[in-house]
Symmetry: C2
């Protein structure tokens, strides 16, 4: 049995000063001050350092934050626990945020929301001096709710669903991404193409639908509503949507290509197709969107549209810190511009030329 880790209180600057025979202020200058440390005589400095080491001095971040009016911590708020693949998206952005924050010696605290609409109150409670600024991850707040955001906290949004007053939004060119995905299918010889789309009303879902239609129109491939299949954003929803479509179209020709609203839905499609023994890409080509980690480890590896999620996360930190540092009284416009990142087509093994003859939907489930 050793004494409790917390039996004695932690050493303070005053303790260190006493031990070294100097004031707490001198200890502060040596141990925590950046520019003022030169003003301490070298031998005093040594004594202070030795005393700090002996007492295992650790600065108290709360006290420092209070004196500096600065926590050196940014917050990230998002719907983290949405079952499955949103996690992937979240994780990649989060790792970009963590990297950028870390390299600028900022900490990151993560706030989990269950629902943007219901948790606005909690959102307020995060902005209470423990963070210097907050990154909103894919918020679906209305503009009215945006106006109610706490006034003294700088915000940056990533993939915001609506433009929020005073909040810079960081996004990617999703419509162009959808266009690239569908054009790649068309260039590969595909004509019978489906789009498994996301949750209606969500900006990302709508933009991909627009890009899908534009690619068809540009190539003069006729569009009709039956090419639009409702899915959602999760693997589970993708799987169900594909199964349903197959059940509804037994005996009819398969599409030769499917553009999915995101990688998660694409994975669900892969599974549902595999259940019926339909081969990808020999029978059907599949394209996803996001280039999450899983896209490289699915079988077959997924052709997808890469959004630079990590870079977007890093950028969010940079923009936020600019605002935190520069917010000493200058004006911030209500309608700030967004930052739009480019997207890129990543061709992997889930796409190929369409089959030379029509493939029909198998009548019913075969054994696996």
């Amino acid at each position: 049995m050793l004494p409790s880790q917390n039996l004695h209180r932690a050493a303070t600057l005053a303790d260190v000063g006493r031990e070294a025979g100097v004031s707490a202020m001198a200890a502060s200058a040596v141990l925590n001050g950046a520019r003022t440390s030169s003003r301490i005589a070298p031998e005093t400095r040594e004594r202070i350092l030795a005393a700090a080491a002996k007492l295992r001095y650790r600065p108290n971040a709360a006290a420092r934050a209070l004196a500096n009016r600065r926590m050196d911590t940014i917050g990230v708020a998002g719907v983290f626990d949405d079952g499955g693949e949103l996690n992937q998206y979240f994780l990649e952005i989060l790792s970009g945020i963590l990297a950028a924050a870390g390299s600028r010696e900022q900490n990151t605290t993560v706030f989990t929301l269950h629902d943007w609409d219901r948790d606005t109150a909690r959102l307020h409670s995060f902005c209470d001096g423990r963070i210097d600024g907050l990154i909103l991850l894919a918020p679906t707040l209305s503009r009215a709710q945006g106006k109610l955001l706490p006034a003294h906290t700088p915000f940056v949004a990533l993939h915001a669903n609506t433009s929020l007053p005073h909040v810079v939004n960081i996004e990617s060119d999703e419509e162009h991404g959808a266009f690239l995905a569908v054009r790649a299918l068309i260039d590969g010889g595909h004509r019978r193409i489906l789009h498994f789309f996301g949750t209606r009303g969500r900006l990302g879902a709508e933009r991909r639908i627009v890009g899908f239609k534009r690619a068809l129109a540009t190539a003069r491939v006729p569009f009709d509503d039956s090419m639009l299949v409702p899915a959602g954003f999760s693997t589970e929803e993708g799987r169900r949507a594909m199964r349903r479509w197959l059940a509804d179209h037994a005996g009819e020709p398969l599409p030769t290509g499917i553009f999915c609203v995101n990688d998660g839905v694409a994975f669900g499609c892969l599974e549902a197709l595999a259940e019926l023994g339909i081969r990808v890409p020999e029978d059907v080509s599949i394209v996803g969107f996001d280039d999450t980690l899983g896209a490289r480890s699915s079988v077959p590896q997924l052709t997808t549209i890469r959004q630079p999620l990590r870079a977007m996360g890093s950028r969010a930190v940079e923009v936020l810190l600019e605002r935190v540092n520069g917010s000493n009284g200058e004006m911030i416009a209500e309608d700030v511009s967004s930052v739009v990142f480019p997207v890129e087509l990543i061709e992997r093994a889930s796409t190929a030329a369409p089959p030379s003859t029509d493939r029909l939907v198998p009548p019913r489930k075969q054994r696996r």
Copy 2:
């Protein structure tokens, strides 16, 4: 153009008190105090609440932390950015941590390490009053390094590689998990079984090797070293290990079953097998370990050993908070016991009975 969000300083309790015509202390009792709030007259209370709303008062967490000697924040330190699948493992535990911390009104801040050995100094710098306690995620610190951990911060470890002084370790019964995995293969009729093992010297890897051997011994299946194939912990390493094994054994019989050290390695095996047209589970059965999210979305879905990662994360928070709350001077033993969670076999589509006739390793890559 509207004024900057930070033009005016945020309202303090003194401001609220002034506005309501009472002291800051009264405002504190109403707005932040839990037990003392009854001591304020109802009408005073109303006035204070109204003033706080008008001024959009938000408590300053740093000041409160300083006064309370408590941040209401726990830290999580781990190697986050290890390329790929460790992220999955990390993410699931993290979501358990976030959920448990959130329900107890504790915040979570995430610290990323690149390497446990080199970043011990950074580890110290985290323990500086911004967190009340720290969860170490899969630390590979030596016991000597463990002794150097900051003395005034309570710690809990998850899957620690060695037992750290004063640190409760939360782990799962990995050896038994390995035993279950291999016994399931044996019970299914498999005899020619390989184990793709993890990084040598890592406790988790060693325990799985022990479980593998014990299952063979129990069933009187002879063991020899050629059944042990070095892989690692990542999908990339699993893919390379499988490819290498196949290249080295062209024309020889395939194993009928492979037990992989984790899901990531199993995914790599699936890919490398698919490249040669070897079917899972018809030709080879594959078992993973962890039951990460991807195990349900791989093709085929992966049979694996489930570790209750989320529950383990939640438990880590509970144990840590007990120590944070109870650390007012009682003793904590140097050698604390570990918490061991049970594991469970999850049978999915990557395992089946062995083929009736030997399958040989195809001589060379076929076209996909």
